[in-house]
Amino acid sequence: MLRHLLLALAALAAIVALTFLVDPFTNIRIATVGYLLLAVAGLTVLTGLTGQISLGHGAFLFIGAYTVALLVVYVPSLPFWVDLLAAAAAAGLAGVLTGAAAARLHGPYLAGATLALAVGLPAITQRFPDFLGGSNGLGFTVNSKPAGIDIPSTQWQAWIVWLTVLAALVLLANLTRGRVGRRLRAVRDDEVAAGLAGIHVGRTKITAFLVSAVCGGLAGGLQAFLLGTAAPGSFTPALSLGLLAAMVLGGVGSLWGALWGAVALVALQAGTEELAHALELGTDVANNLPLAAYGVVLIAVVMAFPQGIHGLVRRMRPVKPEGAA
C-alpha cells in the first residue's frame, strides 16, 4: 500500500519536472493524458477486473463535467476541489443506479444498456437549453491557482489534474489489490462459484460500477476544468468506444495498461494532426486521419500482442506479480 503511494509521489514529481521542460500547449496534452488515464482505469476495474462491459462510460464523464460546470457557474464561491468531489459523487450515484440495473444484464444486453446511456444522456442538454446550454454547452473559467504561484496556467492545470489522478489511482490500486479486488475477480471468473463462496454477486457488480463511475466523473470534471467548457459534443458515443478501445490497446485488467492506452489516445491524435498539417492534407482527410491511424494501431496491437501494450511490456520484463499497479 505504501509502495503505491511512493510510486505516485515519484510519478507526480516526474510530471511536475516534465511540465517545466515543455511548452504550455504540451502541458495541456499531458493533462489530457491524465484525465483519460483515470477514465480508462475506471473502465479497467469494471471490464478488466469484473468482466462487465460498458459502452457508455462517456456518460459518467458527461455527468462529472456538467457537475463541475454548473457548480462553477452557479455556485462560484465553492473551491474547485469541492466541485471535483461533487462531480465524483454525482457520477458515483449514477454509477450505483446504472449498476443496480445492469447487474442483472449480461453480454450484449449490458453493452446495449450502457450504450443507450452514452447516446441518451447528453441529449438532456437539448431538453433544458437554458439551464444546460443546449448543444453549445456551458463556458466558464475555473479559478484554482493561488495568487502566489507564478507559472503558466496550463502548467498549473497539468499539476492539478495529475495530483487528482494519482491520488485516485493510489486508492484504486489499493482497492483492487485488497479484498474488494479479490471479490471483483472472483465474480469475473465464475459468478456461481463466487456466489457459493459467500460473495454477494449483485452487490459486487454494483461496487464495480460505483468505483468505475467515480473515476469517470472525476475524469469528466477534470476535462471541464482543463477546457473551461462542458458541451455535449465532447461526450459522443465515440468517446465511450474510444475509452474502451484505449483499454484494450493498453492491456485489459491492468492499471498500467490504462496509462499506455491514454498515452496512445493523445499521442496518436497529436501525431497525426501534425502529420496532416505538415503534408497539407485536405480537411476531409485530415479529420479522419487520427481515427484511421488509431484503428490501424489497435488492429496491429491486438493481432501482435493480444494482451495489449502492457502485455508486451510485461513480456520484456522478468517475472512480475500479476496485476501489479
Partner: protein, 432 residues
Amino acid sequence: MRSKALVLAAVLTLSACGGAGETPATGGGGSGDPAPGVTDDTVLIGTHQPLTGPAAPGYSTISAGAKAMYSHINDNGGIHGRKIEYRVEDDGYNPTRTVEVVKKLVLQDEVFAIVGGLGTPTHSKVVDFLNTEGVPDLLVASGALMWDDPAKSRMTFGFQVDYTREGKILGDYIAKTFPDAKVGVFHQNDDVGRDGMAGLEKHVTITSAQGYDPANTDVLPQITALKQAGADVVVCECVPAFTALAILTSARIGYKPKFVVSSIGADPRTLTGLLSEFGKRAGAEVSAPQLLTGLIGAGYLPDVNLTSDPWTALFREVHQKYIPDVPLTNTVVYGMAQAYTFAQALKEAGRDLTREGIIKVMESGVLTGPGLTPFAFSPESHSGYTGAYVFTINADGNTTVVQEPVVTDRGDGPIEPAPTGRKTPSDIGLVG
C-alpha cells in the same frame, strides 16, 4: 486520525483560496514585449472555422475567401514588408474543439492574433482565454453582442452588424411592409436568437418563437408549430444550413410564409447550393430559384452581383485569380472583406507591430471598409458594422435592394440612412 483529516482539510482550503467560479484579483493582459507571431517579414495569424460539421455547408468557404485576399496582399508585397500567414483550424462548430484549436494556435503556434473566429457558441468559449492571454481577438465572425464588452474583453472586436441592430432594422421593415402580418421567429437556441429577437421586438410583436439546436437537423416540430400559430412572416435567425432546412421543411408541409432572413443565413447563392444539395440527399428534385424567389434578407457588404461597386470589382478580380474553382458567393466575399479589414488595421498599426498597437488602431475608428455602413469601433464600443440594407431575391437569383443601407443603435435610437461616400479600395491604397 481526526487531526490528520483536519490538517488535510486546512491544506486543501489554503491551496485553493478562491472559489472556482470567482475571478482572481490579478488579471493578465497585453504587454509591451515584442509581439508573438511577428518576424521581420511575416505575421502569423490564426482562426477557427467550421470546415466540417453542422455549420460547414455555407460557412466553409469564408476562409477560402480570406485566404485568397491574403494571397492577393502578399503577392503585392504584403503589409509593411510582412507577408500575412493565415492558419485555419477546423473546429467543426463544436465548442470543445474550438477551445482545443484556439489554445493550440495561441500556445503552440504563437499566433499574433485570432482573426475572424467563427460562431457564437464556439467563440464564446475562448473570449476569456484570449483576453487573459492578451491575444488580439479581431473581427469575430458572429453578430452576438458579447464581443462588444471593452471593459471586460478589451482584446475582442466584432465585425458584422450585431443581431440586435439587424433585428431592429428587419423588424422596422416588416412593420412597414406587412403591417397586419403575424410574425413568427425561427432561431438558433443561443445568443443568435436572443439578441436578434431583442431587436425585432422593438418593432413587431412575435406570435411564436421556435428555437433549433445546431446539432439536430430535424426542424419539423418547430416549423409545424409556426404553421399552427398562423405566422405569415417567419424571421429566420439562423445559419445558412438551417435557413435551407426551414425553407425545405415548410415546402414539404405546404406552409408558405414570407421568409425574412438575417444576414448570417441569407446569401442567395449559398442557399441555392444548399437547397439543391439537401433536396438531392432527401431524394427530391428541388427548384431552388422557385423556393427562394421573394425571400427577404439583410446584408451589410456589397452584393456579389453589384458589379458597379468598386469593392465587388476587387473581390471578383481576387476570386478569379486565386480561387476560380470556389463559387463566388456573398459568403466568399465576407471572408475577403474580413481579411481586407484586418490587413487595413495591420497597415495602420505601422511597421513596429505590437498587440497593443493593433488594439489602439481598432479603437481609433480609422477603419472604413468594404461594408455599406460604418464600423462602431471606438474605445467605448467594440461593435462592428452599425447597420444593414434589406433585399429580396428575384427569380433569376439576383437581388433587389428594397431598403437602402440604414444605421441604428442597440437601444431605442432611430433608424437613419447610412452616411454615403464610402472609401474605395484605391482611396485606401492598401497595397501596390
